[in-house]
């Protein structure tokens, strides 16, 4: 499991870079590194389906980010060099909040089944029945398209909503011209 810890550390470092580096394109690439290390972790966690989807989605996300950044601006004018005084208080407050949260959540997480041994109450039935009832050798595919196909219908609809939404937002003029003189 040592690989998992190395990847987790790399992921956290890349995440810190992504939110701090001044160049936005570099930040998007750092986000990509986070995504790809998560994809590799999915393989280590025995989730090849997720790994494939994560890789292609991550690639596409970086492409989308690059498309937007290249069409707009690459430099982040809000990050000046050095420490900014007005950011000190929120950062300290946030770090305190984060630590308190981690301690509280830590107590709660201790009650979960320990890492690596899930309860698998219904999962056992999926594994036992998956092939026989649906004919699909990939149990994950059997779940997303058959047992819980309704979820996938929702997922497809979310994507559709996003496509129509993006097309809606990218319309050049939202209102028709002749009615615009009454507005300020």
């Amino acid at each position: 499991m040592i690989e998992l810890y190395v990847l987790l550390a790399a992921m956290l470092v890349a995440a810190l870079v992504a939110i701090q580096i001044k160049d936005l394109l570099a930040a998007a690439v750092a986000l990509g590194i986070v995504g790809f290390s998560i994809a590799i972790m999915f393989i280590l966690l025995q989730a090849p389906d997720l790994a494939i989807v994560q890789i292609v989605v991550e690639t596409l996300t970086v492409v989308f980010f690059a498309a937007v950044i290249l069409r707009t601006t690459n430099t982040d004018t809000t990050i000046a060099g050095g420490l900014k005084r007005e950011l000190v208080f929120p950062t300290v407050a946030y770090v305190t909040f984060g630590l308190v949260l981690l301690v509280l959540v830590g107590r709660a997480l201790a009650e979960l089944p320990s890492f690596g041994s899930p309860t698998m109450l219904v999962a056992r039935e999926y594994i036992a029945l998956g092939l026989e009832k649906t004919g699909a050798a990939n149990v994950v595919a059997a779940i997303i398209l058959d047992f819980r196909g309704y979820d996938t219908l929702g997922e497809v609809t979310v994507l559709f909503a996003a496509v129509v939404g993006v097309l809606t937002i990218m319309r050049r003029a939202g209102r028709k011209e002749q009615n615009s003189e009454g507005r300020d």
């Binding site: 995504g35 989730a47 594994i127 994507l159 993006v166």
Partner: protein, 112 residues
């Protein structure tokens, strides 16, 4: 427990960017980080030590698999994440076109 905490830590990093950063693209990056963290957390919940990926290659094989259900759910969550990210980017691009800046402190026409 350590991997789960690492996920929460990633989430806190992302949330920090959402809360304190003033650049819209940076906020979207922070949001993506939060979402990745939750996806990873959910997958780790279903991980089983010394087990195989849930794909049957032989009908008679012993089925010692990791929990397939979180994987199916995270698959859906990843897609939803892609959908939200692309919509946020579209909004960001239009905001830049209108205001010529990504700085949210300068984009403040609506009053409190």
């Amino acid at each position: 427990m350590v991997p789960l905490f690492a996920c929460l830590f990633l989430m806190l990093i992302g949330l920090y960017a959402v809360v304190t950063k003033r650049n819209i693209i940076r906020i979207i990056i922070g949001f993506s980080l939060v979402e990745y963290a939750v996806n990873l957390f959910f997958t780790m919940v279903g991980f089983k030590r010394d087990a195989l990926p849930p794909i049957i290659t032989d009908v008679a094989q012993p089925r010692n698999f990791v929990d397939p259900l979180p994987q199916a759910l995270v698959l859906t969550a990843i897609v939803i994440g892609l959908a939200t990210t692309s919509m946020m980017l579209a909004l960001a691009m239009r905001i830049y076109e209108k205001y010529r800046t990504f700085d949210i402190t300068e984009i403040r026409r609506l009053r409190g």
